[in-house]
C-alpha cells in the first residue's frame, strides 16, 4: 500500500530558530530520509516553500481567478510530504512517527487512491 504523509508544522517557529538549530533539523531529516530509503519505505518526498509563496487557482463560469496564499489558513502549515510504501496503516504510522516534525508538528497519513486507467 502507498501512503502520503503530509507534514504540518509552524513555519514561524522554524524561521525563529538559529542557523545552528535549523541545521540540526535538516540533519535529522537527512538521517530519516536515509533510513526510509534503506528499508524500502521511501518513494518520493518534497519540501515546500512557505505558504506566503502559495497561489490558489479557481475557474468559475470559464473565468480563471487567482488569490495569493494557501487554500486553508492554519496555525501549522503544510510544509512537505513523504510518499511511502508500507505493509498497512500501522506500518505507515510507525514510519510517520519517525518524521522529525512529528515531534513539534503533526503528520497526516492518507492512503493513496489507486486508480486503474481503462
Amino acid at each position: 500500500m502507498r501512503y502520503l504523509c503530509l507534514i504540518y508544522d509552524d513555519e514561524k517557529k522554524w524561521q525563529g530558530l538559529s542557523q545552528k538549530e535549523q541545521e540540526a533539523g535538516i540533519a535529522e531529516y537527512g538521517a530519516f530520509t536515509e533510513s526510509v530509503k534503506k528499508n524500502g519505505h521511501w518513494i518520493a518526498a518534497e519540501r515546500l516553500q512557505p505558504v506566503h509563496t502559495a497561489t490558489t487557482v479557481r475557474i468559475r463560469n470559464g473565468k480563471q481567478s487567482t488569490t495569493d496564499g494557501p487554500y486553508a489558513e492554519t496555525k501549522e502549515q503544510l510544509g512537505g510530504f513523504y510518499l511511502i510504501n508500507a505493509k498497512d496503516l500501522n506500518d505507515a504510522l510507525q514510519v510517520a512517527s519517525r518524521i522529525p516534525s512529528a515531534k513539534w508538528g503533526s503528520v497526516e497519513v492518507r492512503p493513496i487512491w489507486e486508480t486503474t486507467r481503462p
Binding site: 519540501r47 509563496t53 502559495a54 487557482v57 487554500y71 486553508a72 510518499l83 512529528a102 503528520v107 492512503p111
Partner: protein
C-alpha cells in the same frame, strides 16, 4: 522550477454524483494528464482516499499519539496533487487552471523548496 499543485474539492458532494458524471470527470483527468505529459510539465501525481481514512500522528515527550481524521477540517478536502515542472509561477498557474477540479474546487500552487544536501 518545481511546483506542487494541491487539489481541494468537496468529496462529500462528489459521492452523491451519478456514475456517469464521475466517469466524465475521470476522463477529463486522463485527458489533462496526457496533455501535461506531452507538454513536459508532468513529474508525478496521486489521488488520495477520502479524509475519513486519514490518521494524524504526533510524538510528544517520546510518546506517539494518533487521532483519526485529517489535520485540518475544511469544506473542501485535499483530494490529490500534481507535481509539475514549470518555467515560472505564471506557467504553473496556467497548468493548474487546466486541472478539472479547478472548475468545481480549488487548486493551491506551491513552489518546491530546493536545497543541496551537504
Amino acid at each position: 522550477m518545481k511546483y506542487l499543485c494541491l487539489i481541494y474539492e468537496d468529496r462529500v458532494a462528489g459521492k452523491t454524483l451519478p456514475k456517469a458524471d464521475i466517469e466524465k470527470a475521470m476522463k477529463e483527468y486522463w485527458a489533462f494528464e496526457d496533455s501535461i505529459k506531452q507538454s513536459g510539465h508532468y513529474l508525478g501525481s496521486n489521488a488520495l482516499e477520502g479524509t475519513e481514512t486519514a490518521t494524524t500522528v504526533r510524538v510528544r515527550n517520546g510518546k506517539i499519539s494518533t487521532t483519526d481524521g485529517p489535520f485540518v477540517e475544511t469544506k473542501e478536502q485535499l483530494g490529490g496533487y500534481y507535481l509539475i515542472e514549470a518555467k515560472d509561477l505564471n506557467d504553473a498557474i496556467q497548468v493548474a487552471a487546466q486541472i478539472p477540479s479547478a472548475r468545481w474546487g480549488g487548486v493551491e500552487v506551491r513552489p518546491v523548496h530546493l536545497y543541496r544536501r551537504s
